[in-house]
């Protein structure tokens, strides 16, 4: 079968197999991506991040349904952690999204982080492109439950929503660097729990400190996702942000930065696989290592030599 043609014609099987090829780095993946690339760039990519148990999956489920009611088609990439010990993973985000499974306008894919530390998998961006080329209007990217420094989502999304819940710590947490710096929109979930007002006040204080240098003051919405309360208001804020970055040229800037990052990473990966193929697997690395250990050569000279060889090719 012609997987690209089938994907573009709406085959879910082809889309699914494409994402597998991307994730497993099958040889055909780069030629598939090459053909899909001209069909990308149409979808709105919404990043959803926050600590474990904040309700990201439930929120994704409810937001996806709201967008479906607006007549939009939806793609969802849900990332959960891969065990650093066994390489296995339990991908459990679908548990909260069962009502979307049989909706023809929704496609959900779970991904393990597979060694990536930034809250996404290395292949998330390409999987988003596959959903984009497939024709999804809105693509949700749900990160793993994050702590403070997993901020890769800002590089992958047009708009980033940070989901918080009351009772996670004192007010100094709110002024630390990290995920609180990346929110375009904040959602305080489980807003019926104690401490929601306090959290909102602390967040407001933190966000106001940046007030004057920003043209977008991230809004905060209280939500009870499990009951759908506050979801429509949240969608309105997300749409407002998307319109704002579109009007101010920030969207173009974000996508420009993203393309630059991806290009650089692709280049690095390509050089990395050259090294694996020509230096590691051929046994040259071991020979070089021996030279170093037996004091015949040093690492710096060897790297210089190997780089010269690579550049001549």
């Amino acid at each position: 079968m012609d997987i690209v043609k089938d994907l573009l014609n709406g085959s879910k099987l082809a889309l699914s197999r494409t994402i597998t090829a991307i994730e497993n780095e099958y040889e055909e993946a780069s030629s598939i991506m090459r053909e899909l690339y001209p069909h990308t760039g149409h979808a709105f990519v919404l990043g959803i991040t926050g600590p474990p148990g904040a309700g990201k999956s439930t929120m994704t489920d409810k937001l996806a349904r709201a967008y479906r009611n607006m007549g939009k088609t939806v793609g969802i990439i849900a990332v959960d952690p891969t065990s650093p010990f066994s390489g296995g993973a339990i991908l459990g985000d679908r548990i909260r999204m069962n009502s979307l499974t049989l909706d023809e306008g929704v496609f959900i894919r779970s991904m393990g982080t597979r060694g990536s530390l930034g809250g996404l998998s290395h292949k998330t961006a390409d999987a988003v492109k596959a959903l984009d080329a497939f024709g999804k209007d809105v693509i949700f990217v749900e990160t793993v439950g994050v702590g403070q420094s997993e901020v890769d989502i800002v590089k992958a999304a047009d708009t980033t929503m940070v989901v918080l819940i009351p009772g996670m710590g004192d007010d100094i947490q709110a002024i630390k660097a990290g995920i609180l710096e990346i929110g375009d929109v904040f959602a305080i979930n489980k807003a019926d729990h104690d401490g929601a007002d306090k959290l909102q006040a602390e967040l407001n204080m933190m966000l106001d400190l940046d007030g004057e240098k920003l043209d977008w003051r991230p809004p905060i919405q209280k939500v009870i996702a499990s009951q759908g309360e506050g979801i429509n208001e949240l969608v309105a804020l997300i749409e407002k942000h998307y319109a704002h970055i579109g009007a101010t040229g920030k969207l173009a800037q974000r996508r420009h930065d993203r393309t630059k990052t991806e290009l650089l990473e692709l280049l690095k990966a390509s050089i990395g696989s050259y090294i694996t193929k020509n230096i590691v697997k051929t046994g040259r690395l071991d020979n070089c290592l021996k030279d170093i250990e037996e004091h015949r050569n040093d690492p710096y000279t060897i790297v210089h030599q190997l780089m010269n060889e690579l550049l001549k090719q």
Partner: protein, 131 residues
């Protein structure tokens, strides 16, 4: 090229709410290095087949303790095949009488694991038979 990662959908079809067995198996599969997609309780065969398609799994592992396996297991096989996923390994487990097993196997269930099976046997079976 990255090593292929075996992806398994662990599903609970039917209406019984006993998911301890499914969770124990999910955990064992995780520790064996598989990616396990767990979808929770009370899944219809249609939901299971659709999730298997979207997740492009190599294996569908179902657990039933309600006695509805003679109907639900073959239905899942049929729907998964209808979606063009002919090479998926489909296995079942739970409280299933020995006498029901031949019919299930004939319907396309590759193996049936009854109470007392060690999780290691399930892992080994999957590793040996996954395509």
């Amino acid at each position: 090229m990255m090593e292929k990662r075996i992806r398994v959908l662990v599903a609970k079809p039917g209406l019984d709410g006993h998911d301890r067995g499914a969770k124990v198996v999910a955990r064992a599969l995780r520790d064996a290095g598989f990616e396990v997609i767990y979808t929770g309780l009370r899944q219809t065969p249609e939901q299971i087949a659709e999730a298997a398609l979207q997740e492009d799994v190599n294996v569908v592992a179902m657990s039933i303790l309600s006695g509805a396996h003679p109907h639900l297991f073959p239905k899942v096989v049929e729907l998964v095949h209808e979606k063009g996923m002919k090479d998926v390994l489909i296995v079942g487990g739970g409280v299933i009488p020995e006498s029901d097993i031949p019919a299930l196997k004939k319907a396309g269930i590759a193996e049936v694991f009854t109470p007392g099976t060690s999780t290691g046997d399930i892992v080994d079976f999957i590793k040996a038979h996954v395509k």
